[in-house]
Symmetry: C2
Subunit: 282 residues, 2 copies
């Protein structure tokens, strides 16, 4: 295996001869397109379902497709872009395929379970957890775009020169955040909004005539409720304690507002919340 | 007073000689611009603060400004576009100024308190409650636009040929809904989203590092939290029972999801909510 991957371990992305994308969907495909857009001249190998591979080759997202073992052996960088449970399974088996020093990263939406698994299972490769805070409603390789990460935070769970340079070259904003802190923060900024949107849509659904008066506020706040459940199953399974905590904080704030609906103390609550919303935009 | 308003009571908007806009801000100004865009050739009179009047005349939104008593006496239609408490005060005094049969409508965000006051106080004029489900973040006559109501629901609390024709000619979708039902529905579709957004921004504000990972979901759901409190004070004061009810339904749905975070019964909840969100968009 080592003979097949003589370049693994090179620390300069420009010199990599091959990158493997495992799971060529919206995120994996966009990573490949962004990589190519930086001028990367090496080979981009896809490991994915036959349908995804066909679309990805047609669109020029990947150069070719290979089984996991072969792709992993050839690549200097392996990008794991399956759902969380899929990434956990890949981490169980991939280390034996890679050349020593091969860089492995992922795009999973929670990081603690993945990084804990990687610490146990990745010894020949070097693992750095990743999470691009980007996406769109539509999914699949057909929706991939080189600019998906531009202007968005891209979390890495530890420092890594090559990945920091690469992700910054995509126009993303690199954020080095531990897996544990990442999972607390996204419980508030991503998982809580999803549950709120789902609960709001369900609440509005109890009023069959609501569509007659629904304006931009109702539309904006129920958009996430359209998200398919399948991407959330693994997130809830691997971050339920943090999500439960964030829900507790949120419901506490909401009950505080509810108690003051007729009172005067609601105004400072509005002002504090507006300040927090502005701070989020800085 | 009757001699000064010989045309009051004409039932065809095209023949009205004057319309009075009381409160020439975003909504009042947009109503005036939309009215002018339909080809209305009569006079549009503003009743507003000196600053608003100056902007509105500069932008061609109104033709002139007059005190309330004079404007009300001349107009075939009077559009009350102040905040709710301002509309309630106007209803207390306006009836003595108008010619018999003068049409009076409003743009207040809740309808029960306003319609109840109108039943008590409006006898010479004909009152029809209104609520355009439109708006934008910026406010004031400087932000007014003729297309603000286009494609949006515009609630009228009772049938009224002239107003239905006029509002439909703005490109709005006329919805005839009783004041009481309107207030229940907007508690779910407008007031609940505002409180949710405010509580979410406050909850995220408890995590000072959250801005590092905030993506589109957090941004979309905290946008309403930027709204100034002053427009909400009167809404809460006049719809607190319905808002309390909607909050109860929402918190119940959210606690239901919370209890199932690690369970399998959350998937049908997601599917039902997605169906409700889709129904809202039909």
């Amino acid at each position: 295996m080592k003979l097949e991957a003589p370049r693994a371990g090179r620390r300069v992305p420009e010199e990599w001869s091959a990158v493997a994308i495992v799971g060529v969907g919206l995120i994996g495909g966009s990573f490949a397109l962004a990589l190519r857009a930086t001028g990367f001249a090496g080979r981009i190998i896809g490991v994915s379902s036959p349908d995804a591979v066909r679309v990805a080759i047609e669109r020029g997202i990947i150069d070719s497709a290979l089984p996991l073992a072969e792709a992993a052996a050839m690549a200097e960088l392996i990008y794991l872009a399956r759902p969380i449970e899929g990434i956990l399974s890949l981490l169980d088996e991939i280390d034996s395929f890679v050349a020593p020093g091969t860089l492995i990263t992922d795009a999973g939406s929670t990081k603690s379970a993945i990084c804990a698994r990687a610490i146990k299972k990745i010894h020949r490769g070097r693992f750095v957890g990743g999470h691009p805070m980007a996406g769109k409603e539509a999914r699949g390789a057909s929706e991939a775009e080189a600019s998906l990460f531009r202007g968005r935070p891209y979390v890495l769970t530890s420092r890594c020169d090559e990945l920091e340079r690469l992700v910054a070259s995509f126009g993303a904003r690199v954020e080095i955040i531990s897996a544990e802190e990442h999972d607390v923060l996204v419980a508030f900024t991503s998982h809580l909004p999803q549950l709120i949107s789902t609960a709001l849509a369900a609440a509005i659904g109890t009023e069959p005539e609501a569509g007659r008066v629904a304006g931009p506020a109702a539309m904006d706040l129920t958009r996430l409720a359209l998200s398919p459940y399948e991407i959330w199953r693994d997130i809830f399974a691997t971050n339920s304690a943090n999500i439960d905590g964030a829900l507790g904080v949120f419901i506490g704030k909401l009950e505080g507002l509810r108690a003051e609906l007729r009172g005067s103390r609601i105004e400072p609550e509005f002002e504090d919340a507006a300040a927090a919303a502005r701070a989020l935009r800085k």
